[in-house]
C-alpha cells in the first residue's frame, strides 16, 4: 500500500534519514522503533506526506504522493501527532468532529457529530464530550484526538493510519483498547497502521512488522516477533543484555 525507496531527508548539512526503504501492506500494523532522535517522527512525516523527502520516492497505492491533493490524502490517511495544544475553549466533541473537517464543506453536518460521537465511544471518552478539551487530562486528550483521527476515516476502507507515540499518556487498559481498535481496523477494514512506539514489549506483542531505526538508517526490519530480540535491542539502544526486558 505504501512504499518508500531510498528516502533521504536532510536539513542543511544534517542528514536525518539515510537511504530508508520500506513497504507497508494493507491489514498490517507496522511499528517504527528506535532511540530518541533516530528520525522516527521525521520518517513518519515523510510517509504521511507532510514533509517532502530530499531524495527518494514514496508511492501510495502505486501512485506518487504529488498526484494526491490535500483533500484526497485526507480521505485515505490520518495522522495522530505527538501532542496537540489548543488554546481555545472547544469541547471534546467539537475537537473530535474537526476530523470530519473537509468532508462536509462549509456546513456543520449533524452526521459529522454522530460520527464523532461514535468514534468517541470507541476510544471511551463519550462521557467527556461536553467538557472543554483544556480541562481534560493528558490521556483523555490523547483519546479525544484518537477519536478525531478515527472520525476522519470513518466508513472508509483501505486507509492508512499514522500514530506517533499514541500510548505515551495512556494507562494500561487504554493501551490495549488502542491496539484492539487498530487490530480491528486492520483486519476488518483493511487498514494499514503505522505506529511509533517506545514500549518494545508492547510492540513485540501487538504489531506485525517492525522497523528499527538508528541515526536515520535502518538497523533492522522484519516481523516484530523476530526483529525485536535481546540482541537487536541491546545493540540498538546501547544497553546491557541483562537490562533488556521483553
Amino acid at each position: 500500500m505504501l512504499k518508500a525507496e531510498n528516502l533521504n531527508f536532510s536539513i542543511g548539512e544534517k542528514t536525518i534519514l539515510d537511504r530508508v526503504s520500506l513497504e507497508i501492506k494493507q491489514g498490517e500494523i507496522f511499528a517504527i522503533l528506535g532511540p530518541n532522535g533516530a528520525g522516527k517522527s521525521t520518517l513518519m512525516k515523510c510517509l504521511s506526506g507532510y514533509e517532502k523527502p530530499t531524495r527518494g520516492n514514496i508511492t501510495l497505492m502505486g501512485q506518487a504522493f504529488a498526484s494526491f491533493s490535500l483533500t484526497d490524502l485526507a480521505a485515505i490517511r490520518a495522522v495522530l501527532t505527538q501532542s496537540v495544544s489548543i488554546n481555545f475553549p472547544f469541547t471534546a466533541l467539537e475537537v473530535a468532529a474537526m476530523g470530519r473537517g473537509q468532508f462536509s464543506g462549509v456546513g456543520q453536518d449533524m452526521r459529522d457529530y454522530d460520527i464523532a460521537r461514535e468514534a468517541m465511544q470507541l476510544t471511551e471518552v463519550s462521557h467527556l464530550e461536553e467538557r472543554l478539551i483544556s480541562t481534560l487530562s493528558g490521556g483523555e486528550q490523547q483519546r479525544v484526538h484518537m477519536a478525531r483521527i478515527l472520525a476522519q476515516l470513518w466508513d472508509q476502507t483501505d486507509c492508512i493510519l499514522f500514530l506517533d507515540e499514541p500510548t505515551s499518556a495512556l494507562d494500561l487498559k487504554h493501551q490495549f483498547m488502542l491496539f484492539d481498535i487498530c487490530r480491528t481496523l486492520a483486519s476488518q477494514k483493511n487498514f494499514a497502521v503505522v505506529v511509533i512506539l517506545h514500549d518494545l514489549q508492547l510492540a513485540k506483542r501487538m504489531t506485525d512488522q517492525a522497523l528499527l531505526l538508528d541515526a536515520g538508517k535502518i538497523f533492522a526490519v522484519g516481523a516484530s516477533a523476530d526483529v525485536i530480540n535481546i540482541d537487536t535491542v541491546s545493540t540498538l539502544y546501547d544497553i546491557n543484555r541483562s537490562q533488556v526486558m521483553l
Binding site: Y50, L70, V79, P89, G101, Q102
Partner: protein, 347 residues
C-alpha cells in the same frame, strides 16, 4: 463555582445551527436597538417616536441624516471591522491574546498617516479627510505584505517569524511616528495626536459606505472559511492532515484582516481593545466555533464601539472625548478582570 458557571455558559450552544441563529438574531436586535437609541442622544436630542414615525421637523431631519446617523453607523462599521479582524488574527496565531496591533498592521497604518500629515503636509488640505484614509489603508496593507514576506523568509510560513517580524515592525513604526512627532509643528502635532487617540468625529456618509463595502465581503468570506479556521487551531501540521490548505488559508486571513484594520484605522484612527476583547468575550459566552465567532464578534464589536462613542460624545458635551481613550479606559480593566476570572476557572 465560577468554573461551573462558565462551563455552563460555554456548553449552551453545542453544535446547533439553530442556536447560532438565535444568538446572532439576539445580537442583531440589541445592536438595532442601540442604533435607534443612540440616534436620539446628542447635543440636540431627537424624539425616538418621531424618528420611528418619520415625522421629524426638517431641522431635526438634517441633524439625523447628515450628522447623527453617519456618526452612529460609522461607529457600527468600525466596531464590526475591529471585531472581525481581532477574531481572525487570534485564529491565525492560535492565541486568544493576538491582535492586529500586535503584528504591526495598526502601527504601519499609523506611520503612513503621520507621514501624510507631516511630510506631505500641503496635500492634506487638498485631498481633505480622504488623504488620511488612503494613507492608513496603504500603510496597513504594505505592512501586512512585508510581514507576510518576512514570515516566509525560510521558505515555509512560520507564525514565530511572523510574530517576531511584527514586533520589529511595531518598534520601527513607533520610532518613525515618534520622529515625525518630534519634527512636526504645533498644528501637525495636534492633528496627529487626535488621530492616534482614535475618534469618530467628522463622520460622513462616504467613509461609512467605503468601510461597509470592505467589511461585508470580508465577514462573508471569513464565515465561509469558519470550519477551516477551527481546524487550523489544531496546528498547521494537523490541519494539513485533515486536508486544509494552510498556506492559502493564512494568506486569506492576513489580507482580509488587513483590509478590515486598514478600513477601520483609516476612518477612525487607533481604537484599541475592541479587536482584542470582543472575540474573547464571545468565546467565553458562546464557545470558540468560528462559524458563530466571526459574525458575533462583528455584531458585539459594533455594539460596544457604538456604546463607547455615544458616551464619548455626550459625557462632556458639547465637547467630546476621543473614543479610543474611552475604550481603552473601560477595556483595559475589563480585560484584566477577564484574564483573572479565566485563570481561576481554569484551576
Amino acid at each position: 463555582m465560577i468554573k461551573a458557571v462558565v462551563g455552563r455558559w460555554i456548553s449552551v450552544p453545542k453544535q446547533g445551527e439553530q442556536n447560532n441563529f438565535v444568538i446572532l438574531t439576539l445580537l442583531s436586535l440589541m445592536l438595532g436597538l442601540m442604533v435607534l437609541v443612540s440616534s436620539t442622544i446628542g447635543a440636540i436630542s431627537l424624539s425616538l417616536s418621531d424618528i420611528l414615525l418619520f415625522s421629524l421637523p426638517e431641522f431635526d431631519q438634517t441633524i439625523l441624516f447628515s450628522i447623527r446617523l453617519p456618526r452612529v453607523l460609522l461607529a457600527v462599521v468600525v466596531g464590526a471591522a475591529l471585531g472581525i479582524s481581532g477574531a481572525a488574527m487570534q485564529g491565525l496565531f492560535r492565541n486568544p491574546l493576538a491582535d492586529p496591533g500586535l503584528i504591526g498592521i495598526t502601527g504601519g497604518a499609523a506611520l503612513a498617516v503621520s507621514c501624510m500629515i507631516v511630510v506631505i503636509g500641503p496635500a492634506y488640505g487638498f485631498l481633505g479627510l480622504y488623504s488620511l484614509g488612503i494613507a492608513a489603508f496603504v500603510g496597513g496593507t504594505i505592512t501586512s505584505l512585508v510581514i507576510l514576506r518576512m514570515s516566509r523568509l525560510t521558505g515555509v510560513f512560520s507564525v514565530t517569524h511572523m510574530l517576531l517580524a511584527g514586533i520589529a515592525i511595531n518598534a520601527l513604526t513607533f520610532a518613525g511616528t515618534g520622529f515625525l512627532t518630534f519634527i512636526s509643528d504645533d498644528q501637525q502635532l495636534r492633528a496627529m495626536t487626535f488621530w492616534t487617540m482614535g475618534s469618530l468625529g467628522g463622520a460622513m456618509w462616504e467613509p461609512v459606505l467605503v468601510c461597509l463595502s470592505i467589511i461585508l465581503p470580508s465577514m462573508w468570506f471569513l464565515t465561509k472559511k469558519a470550519r477551516e479556521l477551527n481546524i487550523l487551531l489544531l496546528g498547521e501540521e494537523n490541519a494539513a492532515y485533515i486536508g486544509v490548505d494552510t498556506h492559502k488559508l493564512k494568506r486569506t486571513i492576513i489580507l482580509t484582516s488587513a483590509l478590515c484594520v486598514g478600513a477601520a484605522v483609516a476612518v477612525s484612527g487607533i481604537i484599541g481593545f475592541i479587536g482584542l476583547v470582543v472575540p474573547h468575550l464571545i468565546r467565553l459566552l458562546f464557545g470558540a466555533d468560528h462559524k458563530l465567532l466571526i459574525p458575533a464578534s462583528a455584531l458585539l464589536g459594533a455594539a460596544l464601539l457604538l456604546l463607547a462613542d455615544t458616551i464619548a460624545r455626550t459625557l462632556v458635551a458639547p465637547s467630546e472625548l476621543p473614543v479610543g481613550v474611552l475604550t481603552s479606559l473601560v477595556g483595559g480593566p475589563f480585560f484584566l478582570w477577564l484574564l483573572i476570572k479565566q485563570n481561576s476557572s481554569g484551576n
